[in-house]
Symmetry: C2
Subunit: 401 residues, 2 copies
């Protein structure tokens, strides 16, 4: 097993990280228990799955985050602690209590996430034993280890860091994410944690995070399955010492743009790493009357198994794209529709463009952009996805047993 | 190529059928042009795709069926005549006119269906040439030939015949269907034609067909892609000479039940023949407050790629089923949910049933029934689907080119 070295590139003032193997993933000795810790209590915001079946840790986090305060997040992979009844909730609470005790902070400041198989009780004996070691291992240079330890079927860790100028000071925003299957609009078995040393008000942080999620993780689909465990959290510890950013501050837009950009890049990484994917696909719908219409159509194309298999097969079968446009539930004018694959216009006024090359080479790139122009208005939306391959089937036919 | 013999088993008084190769399917000499003809003008009813992008023949049929009268349907496979602009509509009209002329009936009594690739003009020269031959070949014993000729990626023809007693006389209902991909709730590249010699009023026929579609073809999913060409039509020529069935007749329920049963069997055949499928899956949701709730949940499970790949892999990963229940958009009580695979209860009160065998053998049957009991009310709904396999990907990565 390759040990992830400490990496000074991913340093965010006041934050420490650790990831150790606790034996939750039975058949591997990979790290599966991680902690994200801030030296100071931080302002936190979160977005969680809208699935009516919520995992125990998600239920606990939703309760705790009402305070908008937090100092640590403990995350396990290998077991989702979902559909585990009352015991699951008690287990989640105990994990936060043990972590809080080791860190010598209030348990109300500790959050917990789980990802993995649904319906099995957590191996609490192993977790109880591992928490002190996880706390002992905290280091300012271990974010990359956490990005690795939260992976399930991911093939690469997703980690990014950005520096931005806030009133003459250089603030840092760093983010990690995991997810490659059960990925659907409104999040998925997607976990993402963003940390920053920038000082920002509760309202401004919440607003920025909701906005970032809307145009990144909520515009992402691998399959169409929404998870019970989706979690996106941000912790802002204010160690930069800038004047607090409020919704009215001139710096707010700078922060929001940086957070949007980082979230979109993380979402794109998840699509690139979609289970079995060979291609990244961006769907852009323009010329809609409403952004919601553009989003519905982009989502219908992004979730179409026939579009995704056609792209996998390098097959310029645009009929599948226009069929998806038609069933998205949005009023359209068939004879106004244009469709572009990358820069090639294959459909003009709803029919085949006679001048287009519709050869297989059109879909041969590793990154495909499908642009649909409805010519009904000036609103637009985009969506990230990937192709659908035999390997997706293989991975998911074999996952749990 | 295997020639389909005349088959006296599928005889419906007053109906004739033909299917010939017209060269529309370029690389094969298989029959691809079919006619269904009634000696007498019939009462007709139809249900068509709700896709906003409708193929030209569907647009024409929707216009004509307002009369509730018809005498012939001409069907081609190999080309969908969808997204073909004004010319597509002119072509569809010309096909009905040429057919009407050969049959010596009004063109207003002729309907047309197309299935196949989207966005390419019909090869009209070939079709013009073939229509007289198709009319010359009409025979009372060729329904099975039509069931074969309308196939695209289907691996077997779907054909059924039922006899029912209507006021002491034995009436006949026969149906054929095609479809194995682009199959989604509210129909799909699904074509189905039902013919009967029973005399029935326009209103009763419409009512019975709508009702039958609701609990058969509209409860069927292979992938999630709704086609531009879906068509379900019924022709009733009244040759049985029974007293006309109206909505008030005691015979109405007999007719409706027979039509429901036949439609459900055809829908089931489509699921069994789903592209690349190795297993037929029926999802039954009971204990819902409203039938619409039960249907939403059944649909969410039936369209879940993760559930379908798990069943393919014989993997009793019920977490994927409960996750789909949770994102169906229906209020549920997690701690009341029961889930059964065939007769084995794997989930009790929302958690794993400790007494259940959750071995791979649970999913090893060729026909799997997933039953979900919500314990919130007494409404139920079911859904037909199939597993998702590497072969589906292979078929659809290679289909058009």
């Amino acid at each position: 097993m390759k040990e992830i070295p400490l990496n000074k590139k991913y340093f965010i003032p006041g934050f420490k990280f650790s990831a150790i193997p606790a034996g939750i993933k039975k058949r591997s000795k990979k790290p599966d228990l991680s902690i994200i810790y801030s030296e100071k209590p931080s302002t936190v915001a979160g977005v969680f799955t809208t699935n009516k079946i919520k995992a125990a840790p998600v239920k606990l986090d939703i309760k705790r985050i009402k305070s908008n305060k937090g100092q640590a997040i403990i995350i396990n992979s290998g077991n989702a602690n979902a559909c585990t009844g009352e015991k699951g909730f008690i287990d989640a609470e105990e994990i936060t209590t043990l972590t809080a005790n080791e860190l010598n902070i209030s348990k109300e400041l500790v959050y917990v996430s789980s990802t993995g198989i649904i319906g099995r009780p957590l191996p609490m004996a192993k977790i109880r034993k591992a928490i002190p070691e996880a706390v002992n291992n905290l280091s300012p240079y271990s974010l990359e280890k956490v990005a690795n330890a939260i992976m399930t079927t991911d093939t690469f860790p997703k980690i990014l860091i950005r520096k931005i100028n806030i009133g003459g000071k250089t603030g840092t925003i760093a983010g990690i994410a995991k997810g490659s299957g059960m990925i659907s609009p409104n999040m998925a078995t997607m976990l993402s944690y963003i940390v920053t040393d920038i000082y920002i008000s509760t309202n401004a942080l919440k607003h920025a995070l909701t906005n970032a999620a809307r145009t990144s993780f909520n515009r992402l689909v691998v399959d169409n399955d929404m998870s019970t465990n989706d979690t996106l959290m941000i912790m802002a510890n204010g160690m930069l010492g800038n004047k607090s950013i409020t919704l009215q501050s001139p710096q707010y837009k700078v922060f929001e743009n940086a957070l949007n950009g980082l979230s979109r890049e993380l979402a794109k990484m998840i699509a690139i790493d979609g289970e079995g994917a060979t291609k990244f696909i961006e769907i852009i719908v323009t010329g809609a009357k409403k952004e919601a219409d553009a989003e519905k159509i982009a989502r219908a194309i992004a979730t179409s198994m026939l579009v995704k298999t056609a792209i996998y097969g390098n097959d310029p079968n645009w009929g599948r794209i226009i069929a998806a446009i038609g069933y998205a539930g949005v009023e359209i004018a068939e004879n106004k529709i244009s469709i572009f694959i990358n820069n090639c216009q294959i459909v003009i006024n709803g029919v085949s463009n006679p001048k287009a090359r519709t050869s297989r080479s059109l879909f041969a790139d590793k990154e495909i952009t499908i642009t649909v122009d409805l010519r009904l208005g000036n609103k637009s939306a985009d969506f990230f996805t990937c192709d659908l391959t035999e390997k997706y089937i293989k991975i998911n036919a074999e996952y749990s047993t």
